[in-house]
Symmetry: C3
Subunit: 137 residues, 3 copies
C-alpha cells in the first residue's frame, strides 16, 4: 500500500473544510486534529461529548483510535501525539485521564512521544489531539 | 535520494535563523512554517502580501507549494498541514479560502489531514502553515 | 530495527504522564516536547536550568540532543524542530541562541526545517522544543 488513502470513519462528523480525518501512505499514517465530538447524527451539527475535560478527552481518544483502526493501525503504532489544551490548569487532570486510558488500552509497545501546549480552540472545545503513526513496514 | 537536502526556493525570503524552508530525506519532505511573505526583494525586509487573511493565506499557500515543487513533490503528497491562526474568528473565512484554493489545484489524491490551532504570531502575521509530505517511495 | 523502541536517557526527568521522551521505529525518530529541565536528581522535583531564555534554551537543546544520541541519531538527522515560545518578544534572542548553538555543533547536513509559534506553557517555562528525525535508511 503505497498510494495515499483517506481514512474516514463512517461515524465521524464531516470536517469543516476539505481535509481528511486521516491519511495513510505506505507505512505513515497521520491523524488530523480530533476533538470531543460525538459520532455524527444526520441533520445535527457536531456536538461534543460534554462540557468537561474528561468527557471531551475520552471522546477525542475514541475519535483518534477509530481513525487508527480504520487505517490498519493501533495505539502501539503511534509515535507522536500532540495535545492542545486551552488551560494550563487542565494539565494535571488531563494527565490522569491520559494515564488511566492508556493503562486500559493494554499497550504492548512503548508509549508514544507527546507534546502538550496551551492554545486557543473554537468555543466549547477544551482539548484537541492529533497523532502520527508509523506502521510495521 | 537518501541524503538530506535543503529546499530553498530562489524567491523565498531568507529565514530569520539557521533553518531551512524545506528539507527532504528519502521520501520524507518537511516544509517549515510559511507565512504570507511576498517573494524577496534585495535590500528590502520581508513584506506580507497584505494585511488581510485572504492575501496572507493565498501567499502562504504559494510559499508552501514552491517548496513542495522545488523538492519534487506536489500537494498530492502532503499528509499533514498545520494551520496556525491568531484569531478564532478567522476560522470560517480561512476554511472558505482553503476549500476554494484546493478546489482550483485539482488534487488527484485525497486531501491531507490538518490541525488548526490559535496561537500568537509575530506582529502583522495572521496565518502560518507548515506541511509534512511523503513522496512515492 | 523496525520495532518501536522508547528512548529514555538516564538523566532525564520522569515524564509527567505515560509518554516517552523519544521513540524510534525503523528510521523515524520522534522527540517529545523538551523543556529546560536539568538532569533529574532523586527526590527532587524537575528544576529548570534557570529563569532566563538563554539558560532554558540551551538546556532544552541538550535534552533534545541526548534523546537523539540515545536513539542513534544526531542533529544532522533532524528534519523538523517545533519551537514553542511564550512571548513574541523572545523571538530575536532565541534566534541568536539558536544560531550560535548550531554553529558550534558543526552540522554536516543542511539545517532542519522549523516552525516557531507562541503558546502558553506551564508556569516558569519559556520554551519547549520537539523534533522529528529521519535516520539513514
Amino acid at each position: 500500500m503505497t498510494e495515499k488513502v483517506a481514512i474516514v470513519p463512517a461515524t465521524h462528523t464531516t470536517p469543516p473544510a476539505k481535509f481528511s480525518h486521516g491519511v495513510r501512505k505506505g507505512n505513515i499514517l497521520q491523524v488530523a486534529g480530533q476533538v470531543g465530538f460525538l459520532p455524527a447524527e444526520e441533520g445535527k451539527p457536531p456536538t461534543t461529548a460534554g462540557p468537561t475535560l474528561r468527557a471531551q478527552t475520552l471522546q477525542t481518544f475514541a475519535n483518534v483510535k477509530a481513525i487508527l483502526e480504520e487505517g490498519g493501525a493501533t495505539w502501539d503504532d503511534v509515535m507522536m501525539m500532540r495535545v492542545y489544551l486551552t488551560d494550563v490548569d487542565h494539565f494535571a487532570e488531563m494527565n490522569e485521564i491520559y494515564n488511566a486510558y492508556f493503562e486500559e488500552q493494554g499497550l504492548k509497545a512503548p508509549a508514544s512521544a507527546r507534546t502538550t501546549v496551551y492554545v486557543g480552540l473554537p468555543k466549547g472545545l477544551l482539548i484537541e489531539i492529533d497523532a502520527l503513526a508509523v506502521l510495521d513496514a
